[in-house]
Every structure is written in C-alpha cells, then in structure tokens.
C-alpha cells in the first residue's frame, strides 16, 4: 500500500509507482505547500501526479496558493515532473544526500505515525539510525552552563544505553546533545531547518558532517536549492518530536523554540520530560512552567530518566527468548502485580534460591527493576512483550 495518497485507487488514471514518486518529489518542492496541504491535494486529486496535471488554477480551488507557489507549479508543468525530480535528486546527491519519500521503504518508521507527515525528506548518513529507539534532547540556543552540562549528561547516558539522540543542530543545548552522543560513541540524528547543502547554523557544519560520519543522520524537509528566508523552525521541531519516542526539554526560557517542540510532542502523543531549574533562572522558566502545568514529567537525574524511559546503562534491548520456566513464571507474576522476593516465592511456589536468581537475570535483561527498594516491578520493555511470554 502506498502512503497517504490513494494513488492507483482511481481505476481510470493508473499511474506507475516511479511516476508518482517523481510527482511527490516535484510537488513537495513547491514552496508554500506544507505537509498538510500536500496531504489534502493528494487526497483530493487521488495522486500527486494528478494534482500536478490539474495545474495551479484547479489546485488553487482546493488549496490557497501563493503567487510563487503557482509559478513553481507552472514551471513543473512546463518541464515535466520527471525532469524536475531528477534535477532535485541529482542536486541532493551532489550535496552528499538522497531523497526519501513516504512511498519508500526507507522512510523513518517513527514519522509514519504522524498525520500529516513530511512527504519527502532529504537524508544524509545512515538510515539505520531511524530504526532504533530514539529520544529527542532539545533546548534553548542561549544555554547556561547548567543547561549545557545537563544536556551533555543526558545525551551521554542515552547514547550509552544505545538510544539515538535526536536534536536540531542548533547552537546551545542541541549542539551539546549531539556532541555528547558522539563522544559516547552513540548515534545521533540532526533535523535541519535548512537544505542539506546549506547547514544552519553554519558554525555547526563540522558537527553536521561528524554526525553523518558516525552512523547518525542529517534529515530535512527543505529541498536542496530552496530559497529560504527565515528557517521554518516549527515544521522542523515537529519532525524532531516525531522521530523520538520521548522529548526532553533541557533548558528553555519563555517563548523558546524548544517549547514548540514540547507542544508538538504533546500534540502527537510523545512523552515529554523537562529538566527543572532554579525558580529565578530566566533560562529555565519555560521548563519549570512545563513541569508546573503538568505538561512534562520532571527529571531528577539522568539515571531516573533512563529508568523512566525504560533503558539503563549497558543493558541490551530486552530479549524475551530463552527464559527458564521459573524466570517466565516470575515475570508473569510481576506483570500482574509488583511484589517483593518473599511475595514472589509465595506466589510462584518456587524456592527462594530460584526466585532470587531469576530476578537477577530478569533485571540484567532490563525486564524487571526494584528501583533500589524491596518491591520488584516489571519494566516498560517487559510490558511491551506481554504477548510473547
């Protein structure tokens, strides 16, 4: 099945997959048509190719078109979607990247949960970075030392736990997060507000190429060669939140761009965490408000974050296979209800020795945790596996 558009579902106008892909690339490059507008057009016309064939006048009846958008569409109409797409692809390749559309297998799986979502992305680096668990670490460009240190700690912890750190390559918190993830030997993904051939901010060009070299990726909605005035941070931030399972706002003053990412995370149902700051710190007011308004969970330590997210240092992704009978029994009991070892001995009818060693093994696999206390709990990864036990 192909993406949002019901391409091919209209029997009268059957379009080849390659033609439709070219049409997506060309249509997505039209300035002024965002993901939402794109989705509406594809839905209305049945396919992107059909929308292009209809021309700007018919399109304008559905979607409000700016003058420059109409001009761009006319240009595509003249040159043909195929050659426009080929030109964009060639330019992207020259810049060291490739185009990925929603019609492609390699489209980041996490973004497929967004509606609407970017129809076409330019990607530099390793697509494998999109296949792993990812957490976004974002914050203000005017970070304090506290913010930088905390961002570094958090990204370091996450990277060591094998989590991909997603951020926006901005100065301040974003940069600290990317750098810490790289230093920890982890993968990191930068979502750019600019085309891949014009890294924004320019000061982070070296960092950007380092990210792509180290198993991570650069990703943007903005096509190569697009004339950008003010970078569209809001659209960029939504992609950041979309790529991650959770968003951590490390430091953000009132009206910070990071708060847009936070709002996007809430809107699309991603978990939101915020690092608290002193109540008189302007740089943390946004974070503190997120916490006070119960929009974000408070983070009290990097380890606590890792626990809440369900990853702990050095733990491999939980492997459910190969549990012994006792281990399976203990885990099933804990999924039902948390309890102490003593209780588990009673509930499973096993010997204390067997229950104790089973708990250690389950804990080592990241399936249970006692959080330092007497009561053991099944962790989030274990809950995600209930079907397979």
């Amino acid at each position: 099945m192909i993406g949002v558009g019901q391409a091919g579902s209209t029997p009268s106008r059957t379009i080849s997959r390659a033609t439709e892909r070219d049409a997506w690339i060309a249509l997505a490059a039209v300035p002024g048509i965002g993901p939402a507008g794109f989705a509406r057009l594809v839905r209305h016309f049945g396919s992107a190719a059909a929308a292009l064939a209809a021309g700007p006048t018919e399109v304008a009846a559905v979607e409000r078109l700016a003058a420059e958008s109409a001009a761009a569409m006319r240009k595509i109409g003249a040159a043909g979607a195929r050659s426009v797409a080929a030109g964009l692809q060639a330019a992207t390749r020259t810049a060291g990247g490739r185009l990925v559309t929603d019609l492609d297998e390699s489209y980041p799986p996490a973004l497929r949960t967004l509606d609407p979502r970017p129809p076409v992305l330019a990607v530099v680096g390793d697509a494998a970075a999109f296949e792993r668990r990812a957490v976004a670490v974002v914050g203000t460009r005017r970070a304090t030392g506290y913010g930088m240190a905390t961002a570094t700690d958090i990204a370091d912890e996450l990277a060591r736990d094998g989590v991909v750190v997603v951020s926006g390559l901005a100065l301040g918190i974003d940069g600290a997060a990317h750098r810490a993830a790289l230093a920890a030997g982890g993968r990191t993904v930068a979502v750019l507000p600019s085309p891949i051939d014009r890294i924004y901010p320019p000061r982070h060009r070296a960092l950007a190429s380092e990210i792509a070299r180290a198993g991570g990726a650069l990703l943007t909605e903005v096509p190569v060669g697009a004339v950008i005035g003010r970078p569209d941070f809001a659209r960029r931030n939504r992609v950041i939140a979309g790529l991650a399972e959770a968003v951590v706002v490390v430091e953000a003053p009132d009206r910070s761009g990071a708060l847009l990412t936070a709002a996007a995370a809430r809107a699309i149902g991603r978990e939101l965490y915020a690092v608290p700051g002193p109540i008189d710190a302007m740089a943390s007011r946004g974070c503190n408000r997120l916490i006070a308004d119960l929009h974000a969970s408070i983070i009290t330590s990097t380890a606590a974050l890792a626990r809440q997210i369900g990853v702990l240092r050095g733990r491999p992704a939980p492997v459910i296979g190969g549990l012994s009978e006792v281990e399976g029994q203990v885990l099933r009991q804990l999924l039902e209800r948390s309890g102490s070892i003593e209780e588990l001995v009673d509930r499973t009818g096993q010997r204390p020795a067997s229950v104790a060693s089973a708990l250690t093994l389950l804990e080592a696999r990241g399936l249970v945790d006692a959080f330092g206390g007497a009561t053991f709990h099944a962790t989030r990864p274990a809950r995600g596996l209930t079907g397979s036990i």
Partner: protein, 503 residues
Amino acid sequence: MLANALSASIMGVDGMPVRVEVDVAFGLPGLTIVGLAGSAVLEARERVRAALRNSGFEVPSRRITVNLAPAGLPKEGTGHDLAIATAILVASNQLDGSGLARTALIGELALDGSLRPVPGAMALVAAAAGAGIAQAIVPAENAAESAMVGGVTIRPAARLGQVVRHLAGVETLRAHRANPQRADPDAPIDAPDLVSVIGQRVARRALEIAVAGRHNLALTGPPGVGKTLLARAAAALLPPLTEVEAAEVSRIHSVAGVADARATTSLRRPFRVPHHTISTQALVGGGPRIRPGEASLAHRGALLLDEALQFRSDALDALRGPIDAGIVTIARVDGVVALPARFMLLATYNPCPCGWFGITGRDCNCEDGVRRRYQARLSGPMRDRLDLVVPLESATSGHGAPGAAEASARVAERIAAADAVQRRRAGAPNAELSPDRISRSAGFGPDALATLEARGRQLGLSLRRLHRAGRVARTIADLDGRDAVSTQDVDEAIAFRPKELAS
C-alpha cells in the same frame, strides 16, 4: 640483697614477659616501684605490704626497690602482685630463691593474702611460656584458661602462703589437669530458634548463606518484622570453632576480662551485640590502656549491630578497617598495636526513621531530606562492604502461610557441612578468601565467571561488588554440596546485593 621473679603484662591482646627485680637495701624504709608502672601496678605497694603481713611474713623495714623489666615498656594490671611479694621474701631471706627458676608467678593479692584472678591469664602464661618457664602459679580461677597454653605446668593456688610453702618445698601445689576440658557443645545457646520465625523464607535463606560463608549480612525492614529475631538466631547457626581459633578467641576474651572460665574454653563462636550508644573506642578497641573492643571480642564469630543506623557514624566507619583486614590497628606514640578482629557483620536497620519507606501498601511520612540523611548514616564504603542485604516485609502483609518452619539445628547442620568443605578447600571461610582464590578455584568455571562479568556490565556493578558476589556464589554452591558454581548461584548471590538508594 637482690632477687628476681618472672611475671607478665598485657600489651594489646598479647602478653609480654616481665622480670620483677627486687633489691632490699639499707636506707629510709619504703617500697618503690619503677619500670613504667601504671597506677594499678603502683598500688601493688599497699596490697603486697598488707598481704605479706597478713600471711604471717615480715615486711623488711628497709629500702625496697622493685624494678619491672624491660623498664622501657609500660606495665598495666594487678597480675604482678604475687611476683613482687615473692621476690621481696627472697630478697629479705625469708624464702630460698632456688624454687623461682623457670616459674612464672601471676596473680593479684588481696589484703588478707588470698589470690584473686586477673584478666588475660592465658596471654600472660603464654608470654611467660615463650620466656622458657616450666611451671606457672596462677589464681585458681584462672587455671582452666591458663591450662590451654601447652607445655607449661599450671599450678593453681588460693593463697600467698600456699605459694611460698610450695616454693620452699614444704608442700606441693597440685598441677591443674593438663587436658583442657571444653564446655559441652550441646549446651543450649541463648538464641532464638528459627522454628519460631514465621515465613521470611528469603531472609532465612540469606541468613543461612551468610553464616555458612561468614559473609556480611544486613536485614532491613519496618519495625516489628523480625529482623532482630532472625539476626540473633545466627548465634546458634555458627559452626564450632577449631582448636586453633578457640585459642585465639579465648586469649582475646581473657585479656578483655569479659569472659567467665566456661566461655573462654568454649568452642562456641563469639556473638557480640553491642548497644548502639557504644563509643568508637569501645567498638574497635583502644583507650589509655589498649583494650580489645567489641570488634575484637567478635573475632572468629559475629558482630551484630542491631539498629545499625542508630550507631554513631564514626563508630560504624571505624569498622571498615577490621572488615577489610581482619585486624584493628591502633597507633600509639610508643608503637602500633594490632588487635585481631575478623568477624562476620550482621546489621539490622529500618529503611527510614518511621520505618515504612518502600513497603508495599504503606505510606512513609518521612520527608525526603530526613530519609536521605538517615540512610546516609550507613556510608557508601560501609554499604559496599555488605555482602547480602535483605529487605523484609512483615509476614502478615505477605501471603505466606505460616508453615512448619525448619529448626535452627537442621540449618546449623547444613552450615557445618558447608563450613567443613570450605576448610578443606582453603582452610578459611569463603568470606576471607581473596578474589583470586575464589575465581581460580576449580569449581568456579568459565560459565560462572562469564555470568559474573556480564552482570557487572548489565547492572553496573563495581569490581568490589563482583568479588563479594563471587564469594557468596561459592558459598551457595558449598551449601548445596556442589564443587561447581553454577550461573544460578551467581545470579542468586547478585540478587542479594545492596541496591542503590532510590532517589
């Protein structure tokens, strides 16, 4: 005229032979004691004078000088009284000194001339034996422990007069039976029996493991859950002392003067339960006269710190040295004294001041800061030295039916068997083995080692923690009568590790 006799003095838990030299000369009548004599020794002047007179002897109206050699080392205690009195008799020609050769004289004199027991008789006799004596005359009450020193004839005496008549060859003090009679090992021990502990199967298991390998164990939980009961039950679970260990233990207890004759000759392991108000010195030893503390009195046995967090934190931290090295080292201007102190640590404590933190279904009403400060009383390094930590929940809140619990005697049998295995392997309990001895022991196969290392990575455990877990795993296999340590043994050992405090 000059005379001398042999006695001994205590330094730390060791004795040192002391030669008592007496000179009786013309001059202003008086009795002077020199040779770094402590106040108890100086008071011997009055006791000796009265005891001689009341035993029918004469105190010469001369200038009497008593020197305690080696004169440079401090002397303590009242055990020199008998030697001083006897030497005065020889120096004043009231007794022939030939009988004094190769004889040690130890004992405190009462004013009426009777002999009173002294602490540390065993160490004193042992020191004198090292100086080459053939017989030792000691107060009757000290005879049993003194007799544990081999190669010396022990002659108990009740009065100064008896001693003098024996030395003069008029009558003979009967030698104490050389074969020391151990106290009946089956005598009931003053400890709760595990049969009375309801439920708590996990804690019982941990207790059995801890005692078997002499690992350090902490039991935590709300008030009234049975922590203290379980910990005290350990007294009846400890395997008997070996003869060599018994000699060490007896000497320490004898020096400290805390034991009666029965206890000092017992093969029962010491079980010390100091009160939480104890000072650091009383816990690890020290003081102006260096005395063994509770840590040394628990040597080869167990030290139970009930409500451990109520102890002064400096006192707790002072236990770090002995837990690591098995000895307490006390440095003084005139030298370093080492007191043996190899014990298993048992500790009980509440998780927070109100006692209910982390207990399912209960609310703790302690403030975070208060709780953190409370828990911090057990410092990180001390926590690190615990091998097993078991959080207890009250049996009534649990779901266990109070079944027929196993009696202490049964558990003690298994522990004794595991203890024998450990002795055959290394001559010491597992807790005392170096990490190398554990990991290179034949039964610790590549699987167990790999599991240990993997858990270290997965759970973020320190090397010290892994070493400790390795020892505990070794004990678990020993309890099961297996030479091979399994990966389950390793996992069980790790399950009982101290966990990081919840934040």
